[in-house]
Symmetry: C2
């Protein structure tokens, strides 16, 4: 268990700041990790990603195992070199995407067989292969393979699935090549059932991991139900290890997660939203296709220091998204990632000075300014696609 | 005729170096101007465009008059501020796009009425309105409105069209608001007919412009025919004014144009190619979808200093284009524009030291290394679209 060093540096209620040190540098927590699915954070250069303040990115085993292949990436010097990201990289295990993207899954105790969503080719993922792939990629933080159940599953099915994931977690631990600066995280499962979550946490702690993730959330259960699970799970996790809430979330989810003691988050939301004309700001979410922006010389967010906010007007960003210009996706992604990192930095600061509760209240109050725009395109220009 | 200052600084045969000074800074010639059709050089930030060495960009009156509208851009502070490009901007007159993109054109002596390709709305463009729009945009270099004929037109039709364009050129000159650092260029027309081109040049010189463009080329006539026209036209243009070959071209066209005394070029080729997986290099053109790049750790062009070449392998660029990642378009566009600027800088240097002929020979000899890849996708990966 000497793979990753984690040190808690300050606490404020359940929230804490910390520093996780990997072979490719540190990550200050609570941290948001941008998602670089196919070895690229979509529409961003690595320099720009780092410039937003991000220290660690996430990349996806499922996508990379299908294309270009982990053995190829290893031959080319590993994922850091391949994609020119010198900082820490966390890779997921591929499990979630096998369940959400792949076709014709066939699962048993050994692992899961599936067809690629790209070309129909057949692939197999086992706990051992998931570790092997992530090791070939050169991940700093490796995730165990787990099974994902749906919210609709009954409790017995959730329990069976969780127990399978725990057996797989143990096999992952056995397969994982321990080395300095590289670590393996377990994933707590158990759906919305506190007793199953508790059994899962206990099983993982018994195996022993560099960090503990909470999986199977942000899948439609709602923020309140998610926070209830966090309240139960975090209390059972060791204080000296990082806690990672997978696939979460909206800005308000991050604030609620940090308040409950979460140290790490990842989500496609800021990047995907940047490609679908949505901007997150200190005052709520903006739909940049809305015609109200057409003549607005103001920046997206007057308090933001990102290039989209310091160099362009809302009118220009509106023009870019109406014309479906790539620069529109580039600038909105840049802004959204910058905003997410600013939010995490503000929470780290608030924890350090013991004002996180007040910060969270002010955050919630400020978020409602633009709520009328959250629900849709509103009075959107009727213009068609540009060439 | 005090709008733009142009000074020839060195000559080598017909080729020359010079400096054109505008209200927004200088442009060293021979120059290639990247195209920023809709107030953005596609897939590039303005900082990145400037970083390639580009000093002046082109933007399109037709696209901007339809969306977001020149009056709106003027209210927002002009095109330079709108798109955050502090350097010189040349705008075309909109004529070429009216003929190539718009529907239901109706033309008479006064101008042309057409329907927007975006939403079918009816617009009118006259010589006076073309000048008005470019003035609202704040163009440093304004182009006269001309009519475009097809290669297939018979000589009488080409002559009629050229004469109409000359009458429009005179109206543009009358309508153009003279001011320091801003200039108006005439456009020589006349198809492939040397006598008509001569009449056109003579008419424009009689009116008097800050610079002289050569229009109606690179429309399928072939490089040899184009060079023949240049040979005839350039000899008739004043030596103390910049000569601009519109919409050209491939790297070899630029070299041939410079050898014949052309000072300015623009073309969508490097940017469009960057979005269609093509890379221009010192050794010819590469199709980055070709499977031969899959395992290649080498850079795109070992002699190029752009981010795509210094930070990534061909294998990674191949991966990005196969996965249809936006970063692929960003990096290939960046490289192509960088390469075009490097080529122009190398020619400016060669002119200064009197070695342009030798440079052109070495250029032609080096271009054939990759010709087998120019013709198509070759052994392209069969992988499908990514999510």
């Amino acid at each position: 268990m000497t793979g990753l060093t984690f040190r808690v540096t300050a606490t404020d209620g359940l929230a804490r700041t910390g520093r996780l040190t990997t072979a490719h540098g540190p990550m200050d927590t609570p941290a948001f990790m941008p998602v670089g699915t196919a070895a690229t954070v979509k529409a961003m250069t690595p320099d720009a990603v780092a410039g937003t303040g991000a220290q660690c990115i996430l990349s996806n085993t499922y996508h990379l195992m299908l294309r270009p292949g982990p053995e190829r990436i290893e031959r080319l010097g590993g994922l850091h070199k391949f994609m020119n990201w010198p900082g820490p990289i966390l890779t997921d295990s591929g499990g979630y995407q096998v369940w959400s993207l792949a076709d014709h899954r066939k699962m048993d105790e050994g692992g899961v067989e599936f067809k690629s969503h790209l070309d129909g080719s057949v692939h197999h993922l086992s706990p051992e292969r998931a570790i092997d792939i992530q090791t070939l990629l050169g991940a700093d933080i490796t995730m165990v393979l787990d099974e994902c159940t749906t919210l609709a599953a009954d409790k017995d099915a959730v329990a069976d699935s969780m127990q399978l994931s725990m057996r797989w977690a143990e096999r992952c631990k056995t397969a994982f090549p321990e080395r300095g600066g590289h670590g393996l995280f377990g994933i707590v499962q158990g759906g919305l059932h506190d007793d199953l979550r508790a059994q899962s946490a206990e099983a993982l702690i018994g195996i022993g991991f560099d960090g503990y993730a909470i999986g199977g959330l942000s899948v439609g259960e709602g923020q309140e139900a998610m926070f209830t699970v966090l309240d139960g799970v975090v209390a059972r996790l060791p204080e000296d290890r990082p806690r990672y809430l997978m696939g979460v979330g909206k800005p308000a989810d991050l604030v609620g997660g940090v308040l409950r003691g979460i140290d790490m988050f990842d989500c496609v939301l800021p990047t995907r939203s940047g490609r679908t004309n949505q901007a997150f700001t200190r005052h709520g979410q903006l739909n940049m296709r809305n015609a109200r922006h057409k003549d607005d010389p103001a920046p997206l967010d007057a308090d933001c220091g990102c290039p989209a906010c310091t160099q362009y007007s809302r009118a220009y960003l509106h023009h870019l998204v109406m014309a479906k210009e790539i620069l529109g996706a580039m600038l909105l992604t840049w802004h959204n990632l910058h905003y997410y990192q600013d939010l995490m930095a503000a929470m780290r600061h608030a924890i350090t000075v013991g004002t996180l509760t007040a910060f969270a209240q002010a955050f919630a109050a400020a978020q409602h300014k633009y709520t009328e725009e959250e629900t849709g395109n509103g009075d959107v220009d009727s213009e068609l696609n540009s060439n």
